[in-house]
Amino acid sequence: MASAHRSSTLPPSGANAIPSHRMTGLTAAITALPDAGDKSDGKSIAGLIDGAVRVARTQPQGLATIAARLHALLTAEPRPRVEFEATRLKVNGHVAMEADLERGRWLLLAFMSGLRDVEATADCRVEEVIAFAQELAALRPNPTLLEQFADWLWSDGLEGFTVGLHVSFAEILDVADDPERRKNQIAALRTEMAMALSSDHLATVRDLDRAALMPEFQAPLDAYTAALQDRQVGLTSDEAALLRAECDAAAFWVRQEIVLALANPSLRRAITPSAIARGLVRVAAVSFERDFLGLVSMLSQSQDSFAREVLVALEQQPVGMAIADRAPLDSVGLQRLMQLLKGGTPKLTEGIARGLCERAGREASELNPVGQLVQAMGFAAFVALFDPATLSQPGRDILTRIGVMLRAEGSLLAPVAEGCSPALALLLLPKVAPADRAFFRGLVERQLSATRLRDRTQLVATLTELRWPDLPELTFEAFRASSGAGWELRATRLMTEASAAAGKGERLLAMQRDAAIPMPIRLVLMDALASVPSTADEVLKRKLTEFLEPQEIKDKLAELRARRQG
């Protein structure tokens, strides 16, 4: 709809056609922009920011589409730093966009407001990217609006980003304001203060009389001096850290916001349930038992619909992951986690279980405590809490290791291990009991089809040593599926030998003649099949088509025939 409507407003293509980036509306903005998957991410980011600002001005309903793409780039690790200059935009220190007659006109206004750089935080949401674009789009060359934008940035209006803010242009004059005049003021001040000390200029008698009655004046000054000498002044670093933690405590702020919203329905436009839910996740991460449970309990007991909305919003948040990320993994911490895993809601336990695996995947030192917890709970019970397929590679590897350590049953371990790394697969497979090997067919198939050359060769060698059941079938299928591409010579030979040993070498005969198979692989196939009695005759048989084969094949056949005769 949108594009059809727009095309009717555009002039026909030709000398006077407006370039695509000057088209109005959503389609133009999107089509003019580079793909989020573009390798030149800096330029993509700059293009998407500019596009988002334009769309926010003209077709706000389409902003979400661009914002989602921009969000993906801004939150991709390592997260890029976007710098705002007066007439250009930089990403990670490289110029990504120069303002011209059509693009980036808003840059100067943002710069005048004091905006210098932004970097998305790990928990940045698409809605926050949208809010940023909307505020940029609202900028106009008006000192009041520029100051409002500066105030918005200063007031944490731009959530989900770390913001570098400089003095705004309107404030520059204040900062540099006329030092000569101020110097004179200070000189006058000094004189005035000196005058105030002389007896003629002390306070009037009436003022003094009144002041003398103030309770504060009853305290002798030397008591202050003595008290200072008795007490330690200033704080130790531990005390300072405690006070700092008191001030920054997420639990305090979230509790106050909940109380504020519950008591003042008029403020609920500003204090949204999802914002409070996100705050609760932060609390859960640092103080689950002491504060988080108390706050959730407070919300549960409230009859207010707002409290229920917060609880619903909380269900959408990764609370379990946050707990798993920050919970201490000492004996007490493990005990508490165990209780939560046994008694928590499915959503919570799923998050905790997955979060623990991810955490151990990131920090090798956490393998043991997490392993202890899984052991205490039982591997079967632990993996039943969540879908291990959703784990990242390191998280899945850790859970696989734990399963191996705990000698988990093959039927439980195999689905977990299915996506594990090649190195881990090589460690794991020799430990699998012969009776359980059938469970790991999926793992072997996956490894054979997806791993690097060296890994695959090692895997085939290991499986050969282990006399893995179905090895000829597994390796042959993987080989056929890839037409030999990406197979090392040793792996090819092992695969051929396995097939031949299983009496199934004939199925490779056609492949050793197949011109689509890479030449070195064909040569190895010929060599291997020629050494097996059941296939040797067929390989060495003279055929008319032999004359059409490349010289390497002719040479190889000659060599193999000579070897047989010799």
Binding site: A194, Y224, T272
Partner: protein, 431 residues
């Protein structure tokens, strides 16, 4: 597509400038072109005279007398920021660069200005485009005057600003603005004005927290609610900066201090703290917490803090965190000047008077954190030197001993070599 639609998409703002800004933008364009023409064609070329005439006409469109300030990267007209489009900004940069090289940041035009004077002035500026010169030092022109603003240079020409001067500027402007807010008693809280004050104070504390405190003690402004609110805010920012709290926390605490001071001291000069906090809260919730794009967390945080301050304490409960600090600072300012009149206690006086309540009404850690930030002899303390002279503490001295501070004696700054003693201003007090 219409021009205005295209302008809306690309953000071509030149068409959206207010008429007064448009006039200044035109003036800037013409004087820029004049400077460039003189550089390329000389002062006698007809084009030069034509452009000087156009510039003069643009000047007269703006009201005269008036002045242009080129401060760092910004251009001001009669000290009001001129919003520019990108082309105007680039022209402003060139003019600013040339003026910087001539040691000038402000140029004033009066009614008597004529073409000859304009051409002579911009001839010097055109040379300034190439490199530094001092040709304006001895020059006098009818209708045009100029001066340097030392803190206005940028790039290689930037000069550091004296922290004392900076602090006095920021604090005195903040007090004036805070007084206006306090005077608007009963009206919804003006968030934008509050943030503007906080940003000013934040800068002052960042440059030199002690200088900000000193400025606050020594600036001869009335002992108003605004002044006391600013004092609270400066100290909150200084203490939290020292502790290293998150910027969002420090800003919310600072703003809460400002609004509490502006409202609280108006309603309850010697009344209950909770009463002041309740009144403040009711003023805050009359205003919007959201901008066009959604909630502004800072406002919500400030409200949260004030609400926490207004909540009565349970028996045996102590205030914690920023709430404890705000309560301590509110009481400090209240007790310094509980009665009307000219006499106010010094900070040292008041801290001494509050000491018996430390550990009960005021958490000991927060009290010590405050003294740690202010110093044992806070700025403004009256002291006696070993030789009997009396002075006012300006701040820490060059020696590490806090009882050897920098002291103002008469109009002279003294660094004592022997420890000073607190001076009792009132008869009958022990010192």
């Amino acid at each position: 597509m219409t021009t205005s639609t295209f302008a809306a998409i690309t953000g071509d703002f030149s068409a959206q400038l207010a008429p007064e800004h448009q006039a200044v933008a035109t003036l800037l364009e013409r004087i820029f072109v004049l400077m460039k023409i003189i550089g390329s064609h000389g002062t006698t070329h007809p084009s030069t005279h034509e452009m000087a005439s156009a510039a003069l006409s643009a000047l007269r469109q703006c009201k005269l007398p008036s002045a242009l300030q080129f401060v760092r990267e910004a251009v001001f007209f009669d000290r009001t920021l001129v919003p520019l489009d990108i082309e105007g900004f680039k022209r402003g940069q060139s003019l600013s660069h040339a003026m910087n090289h001539c040691g000038v940041h402000e140029v004033s035009f009066e009614n008597g200005v004529d073409e000859t004077a304009l051409i002579a002035f911009f001839e010097v500026l055109s040379k300034g485009l190439v490199g530094p010169n001092d040709l304006l030092e001895q020059m006098r022109l009818p209708g045009i005057s100029w001066r340097e603003i030392p803190g206005a240079g940028w790039g290689a020409e930037a000069k550091p600003i004296d922290p004392d001067l900076f602090a006095v500027t920021q604090v005195s402007l903040a007090v004036a603005d805070a007084d206006s807010l306090a005077d608007a008693f009963g009206e919804p809280w003006n968030w934008a004005a509050g943030v503007s004050i906080l940003r000013r104070l934040e800068r002052a504390v960042e440059v030199d927290a002690r200088a900000a405190d000193r400025a606050l003690e020594l600036v001869p402004v009335p002992w108003s609610a605004g002044r006391r609110a600013v004092a609270m805010a400066v100290r909150v920012l200084a203490v939290e900066r020292e502790l290293g709290t998150e910027p969002a926390t420090a800003r919310a605490s600072g703003h809460a201090a400002l609004v509490l001071g502006c409202c609280g001291y108006r309603v309850a000069a010697s009344g209950l703290f909770e009463e002041a906090a309740k009144e403040t809260f009711s003023r805050l919730v009359q205003t919007s917490m959201a901008s066009a794009s959604g909630a502004i967390r800072h406002r919500v945080r400030v409200c949260s803090l004030i609400q926490a301050l207004a909540s009565p304490l349970a028996a045996g409960q102590q205030r914690q965190g920023a709430v404890a600090l705000l309560h301590l600072l509110y009481e400090l300012e209240r007790r310094r000047h509980a009665e009307q009149g000219r006499v106010a206690l010094t900070v040292a006086d008041t801290l001494g008077a509050m000491m018996p309540d430390v550990g009960r009404a005021y958490p000991s850690n927060w009290f010590r954190a405050l003294i740690g930030t202010l110093g044992e002899l806070p700025a403004g303390s009256r002291v006696t030197l070993a030789d009997g002279r009396i002075g006012i503490v300006l701040g820490p001295g060059s020696l590490p001993d806090p009882w050897l501070p920098q002291v103002l004696v008469g109009a002279q700054i003294v660094q004592p070599t022997h420890r000073v003693r607190l001076f009792a201003q009132l008869p009958g007090r022990t010192a």
